[in-house]
Symmetry: C2
Subunit: 229 residues, 2 copies
């Protein structure tokens, strides 16, 4: 079945969260190891979303969750006295991330042929900021805020299929994370793995899929080539 | 307070639904008065949404509601025997509407300065089809499917404010219909009325706002000029 639409994980797959957060943390928190700070913040990401996924709390967006994680993180890194405006600005560092180098041109090529939408745990405003910063054009913004829940809950993939109006197999979930692709495949979507060996800095990143996928690509330009874009 | 984002009514404000539906009806239903058919279909639009607004049925998208209205309409116009594929194709006529002539260039100019999103009763796939057909680029798709309800219910305007992350007054609701603008103003949004004197063909259309608004414009290009776009 031909692919008609691509839906994208964002953090790690389209944008380099670690370098951006590290850079801004080092600018605002004297003496800090920015990479370690970014890693420690990201480590709190999944547990913070779990309260929403499990239904223990109503949907709260990533800015809210990142702000909550930040307080404990600042204690851990010896900056418990950070001013409120520094904290607000650090949360917004997640809105100022750079795309991986090949992404803008590859996305523009893909949009000639396919409907494109983020299927991310980022909320609408965060996605709009990242897209505008990096010159990415989407046809719609799906994902966490559209579904009021977080991946890998099935609702996000199902709502994307409903919203795009294609058969699930005509929609290609694009991600650098095998667990995201496994969840998408469980809802019948086609899947594409993007290698991001530098996602986590010295700790690496997924160099290939750990689950069966429809496409495995070395980067987004490679995927565009494989799709004949 | 400065405007940061524009949200748009779509049917009537950005696209000419009557001419497009009339044209396709005349092609597919021999001997029909396309304009009268389009008007009669549109007349069933508000009542069909009311079942969702009132909570009598769960959210159903416009394709579903238009398909339901179509059966009675075909009886009324002497085409009760229309084939299933003709019916499906007529529903999709709403996906193939043309923008009013000044809209594509005005939207491109506005997007240089503002975040843009439809705030329409159209669902995601319908909006994506209209946007792609007419070369319109939005930053996100808000409205009925995002909120699982229909305008003028307050949830749609409130959800748009939350999603865009600006103060309500920084968001400008743009519509050719005073009732839509009144509902938006009730949630604190700024408002812009677009005159569409030909929206309903010989029956005319709103030539100016019937309620107090922040901006009144003769068309979208005029609004862009007033906003310094």
């Amino acid at each position: 079945m031909a692919i008609r639409a691509l839906v994208f994980d964002t953090f790690g797959t389209l944008v380099d969260w670690r370098s951006g957060v590290a850079r801004e943390a080092e600018q605002r928190l004297p003496g800090i190891d920015g990479g370690a700070f970014a890693d420690a913040w990201r480590a709190r990401y999944q547990p913070s979303m779990e309260a929403v996924r499990s239904g223990r709390r109503p949907f709260a967006d990533l800015d809210t969750l990142q702000a909550e994680s930040l307080d404990a993180l600042l204690v851990e890194f010896g900056h418990a006295d950070a001013a409120a405006e520094v904290k607000r600005d650090l949360v917004l560092a997640w809105h100022r991330l750079d795309a991986w180098p090949e992404v803008p041109a590859a996305m523009a090529a893909l949009r000639q042929k396919f409907v494109l939408a983020p299927l991310s745990n980022g909320h609408v405003r965060l996605i709009v900021a990242l897209a505008r910063r990096n010159g990415l054009v989407f046809d719609a913004v799906l994902g966490a805020e559209f579904s009021r829940d977080y991946k890998p809950k099935p609702a996000l993939y199902r709502d994307a299929v409903t919203a795009l109006g294609y058969a699930a197999a005509e929609i290609l979930m694009v991600a650098a994370h095998s667990n995201d692709l496994a969840a998408a495949a469980g809802e019948g979507l086609s899947t594409a793995h993007i290698a991001r060996p530098r996602e986590n800095g010295p700790a690496g990143g997924e160099t290939g899929p750990a689950v069966p996928v429809t496409y495995a690509a070395s980067d987004l330009a490679d995927l565009a080539r494989q799709l004949g874009g």
